[in-house]
Amino acid sequence: MSFFGFDSTLPRDRGHNTRAPGFSQAADPFAGPRPEDDDDALDFEDTYDGLGDQLDETDDVFNDDTFGDDAGPVTKKPVGKDFDFFGQTAKVSDAINEEQLRFSRQAPSSRGPPTTSTFPQPLPKPARTGYERYQEPDYVPDMQVDANLWGVAPKRPAQASDFGSPMNPGIPSGARKMMSLEEVEASMRAQAKKPAQPQQPIQQQQSAPQQYTQPPQQQYHDYPPQHQQQQFSQPQQLPFQSSGPPREEARPAHVGQPHQPVQIMQRSQPTPNQPIAPTAPSQPTQILQNPNRYSAEQRRSAPAVQHPVQHPVHQSRPSGSRHIITHPQQLANLSDEERAAFLMEDAKRAKRNHKIFLLSKDNGLMTPQDKNFITRIQLQQLVTATGNPNEHGSDPSLSEDFYYQVHNQIRGGPRQHPGQPLSNFAQTYLFQTGGRHGGMRRQARGGDNHMQRMEQQVQRAVEAAKNKPKNKQLVIEGSLGKISFSNAKTPKPLLNIKRTDSAADAHRPSKAHQVGVSGSDRKTVLTDIENVYSTLMQLEDHERLMPPPLDNDDINPELAGFHIDWREKEEKLNRKLWRDLKVHEPIGATTTHPFIAFLSFSKGKKCIPRVFRHITQEQRTTILTIIVIHLDQLDVVRQGLLQPGEVQLNSATRENIELFSLAVMHTLFGYLNEAGLDIVTGLLGLILNINIDVIARTRIGVSMLTMLLSRAELIKQAGSNEREWDQWVGIYNAFFDALEPTLPNIFPGTVNTGEDVYVWQFLAAIGIGASPEQQQRLVMAVKDRVMETVAHAKTLPTAMSGQRLANVNLFMRSIGLDVELLA
């Protein structure tokens, strides 16, 4: 990653407008290195006319005389009711006493902190509330309850805190930290009515000047209630703007952009009343130079950077105070237990405040400049680490941060750059994972999905087949009871004799330990797989570079050229992928076909869906054919056979089968659904050449057969040409004969395991296409299992029992029967 491409000379470092007074006091540690802010800063400095420097601030003390303004900002003109969105509050606000309490509570909270340190700092925990007393030299920390501490004593309203115990009996304790909308409204209304209140002038005098001395940033951090209030009142600024500067002066930091000219004008007046310059020592220049900048900054930086720090502070505040006690009298009314609890709570709080005080003596150890310095280093490192933010989504940053960026796309994380061309990537993995839910869940889900689709297909076939006229004779209960073993046992071994059988058996013992690939092959195969992946990624990258679609009317030769180049490259990559897949290696040249070996690794299986997105229909057919020809050699088939005595496959094999089913079968299923009957017939014909006995006893084998049979049935129902259909029937008959001896053994495990859904689906798929005679043979072959399952279902809870019966019924209905007839 190059650091050198980064413009390290931020505008602020390039030298400053030396005329700007107090720039050296710049204290906002987050002001400097924010690249987005630079534009603002530049603009302003370019355009600033320096009028602010000429402010005459002498005789400020006469402001009141000039403007007749004897009140602080809080008792300005009536605020009006147009903010009263909360209807109920209007009624509440009539309760004057409560208002008064609220006001008295809110007013102290809006006063500035006594500035104890030389550096105003944006710390979350400055020495400000409740523990000022500790600074008195003669003060001995009193751990006992002291109601004064919580602001009841009128002589020290300064210590009333929004931090410690609440003061109003009527206000829930939750309101301590942040005023709700209603409260804000209520207090604003209360202020509007203030002139009627007798004590109010005192408070005005107290609060007004203090607010001026409060650094805005601090204001924000320390006084969430006030901040909220200010924000809330912001929309009200416009009406007040015209009414003159007094309102303005209370909120210098919140002047919105549209008002800027007005403010500059105001400022250039030699109004002695202008308190802006002396007000906020920590922020003066930014405000003077560019008021928008500060507010914009505050908006940006505050939630992003400050909150995480402040958050724990909120959390760790004593939360258990159930009793809100503002007066010793109330304490007397409590039960002993409650009182003890309260005292304890209170002592804890005091202790805590004391601790904060002790720690606060180190506040300001770092100067704002120090912090600024640190912040810059941090941000610089961030930039170095994450790259230029403007580069996000571009190729270099993508390759550095691939996982994060794509992960964010997939999981719906915050997308900083909505336009970034990542959707293709996200698509790739979404496609692969089959949904927005990744991780462990998706395999199971995907698997289910596949099963469901398969079941649906079989069901559709069954439904359609049911509409055909049936041989009524079969719908006789007794037909199930008629067992003729000679018939069921009629062996038709013509196609069953197969050399591969013994060959496969011969291989198995030697290779049973793993996937059927010897050690030296293993490395080769793994390398092959990695090659496929790397080509796939190239293809996926290439896909993102696809030029915009050609306009039909206006042929842009340049664009057309891009398209030609692009397609050439794509074809090249496709050929490379095809070579990497080794599908065309000669069959039988090696013990295991390279592509089949490829599929014996889980990552080989996993890449199939992605491969299918980038290959042609013809290539897909080839892959399906290769898989069908080698069906009995697939690891999931060879290892998927239950050995005599086994009830369940081991978990590794089951996982393997699950993965194959999800990744490979699912993909093939999708392809086959578009294939014609000729292909289906051809594939079933290929299966006749391999060991059907092995295939039919494994889940993957059965799935493949179900897939073909049900597809054929659907094609037939959709209408197919006679000749093709006759071909299919011929193959089907041969297949049925080959399968019949295996039928009684195709169920995995015992009835109890209940993992035989796929077999019932399979049987249903056979049943639909079978002739009446074949159906009879079918029934006889699996009759025992049907009976067992029905009997077993009776012992199960309703839901499970229903499921089992439904499975059986899928088959039963395919041959025109129903389990209910058995009951």
């Binding site: 050198f4 710390l123 120090d370």
Partner: protein, 161 residues
């Protein structure tokens, strides 16, 4: 456990305000580590490469009013675990030795560590010493046995402890 001492100290200035980003241990908390910037603004060349930044900032810490908390694990012989706080004063710590920094929860800080009771420093110190001696003896035996089995080297006993 001797590596843990650092964060047992109550850090005098816990978490300076806005320091949310991941370089807290590099805050120049005391004088002398960085030449105090003579001007308010740093020359731009100070912000060129990360390597340079590291040279500048991978620095040391000065901790004042440090407290080391020592523990003796609970055991059948001694009953519950014991702890004691020892005032240590000023520490100068090389930045690279910092394992972690933690912010102390002021409320939790009032509670004793679960399963531990405060005891006087001498007791805890004595017990800790005994425990260490015991561990050392055991380790020696383990090492010897391992040595007899053919395990050599400094790390021989480590795996078991």
């Amino acid at each position: 456990m001797e590596h843990l001492n650092l964060h047992d100290n109550e850090m005098p200035p816990p978490q300076q305000g806005g320091a949310q980003t991941p370089m807290q241990q590099m805050q120049p908390l005391g004088p002398g580590m960085l030449p105090p910037p003579s001007s308010q603004q740093l020359p731009p060349q100070m912000f060129t490469t990360a390597a340079q930044l590291l040279d500048l900032t991978d620095t040391n810490l000065v901790l004042q009013s440090t407290i080391e908390r020592i523990f003796v694990a609970p055991s059948s012989a001694n009953g519950p675990g014991l702890y004691a706080d020892v005032n240590r004063g000023i520490f100068l710590v090389r930045g690279e030795n910092v394992l972690l920094l933690g912010e102390i929860d002021l409320d939790k800080d009032d509670d004793e560590p679960p399963g531990y009771e405060r005891a006087d420093v001498e007791t805890v110190h004595r017990l800790q010493k005994e425990q260490k001696a015991k561990d050392a003896r055991r380790e020696k035996i383990v090492k010897r046995r391992l040595g007899e089995l053919g395990f050599e080297g400094e790390n021989a006993g480590e795996a078991l402890i």
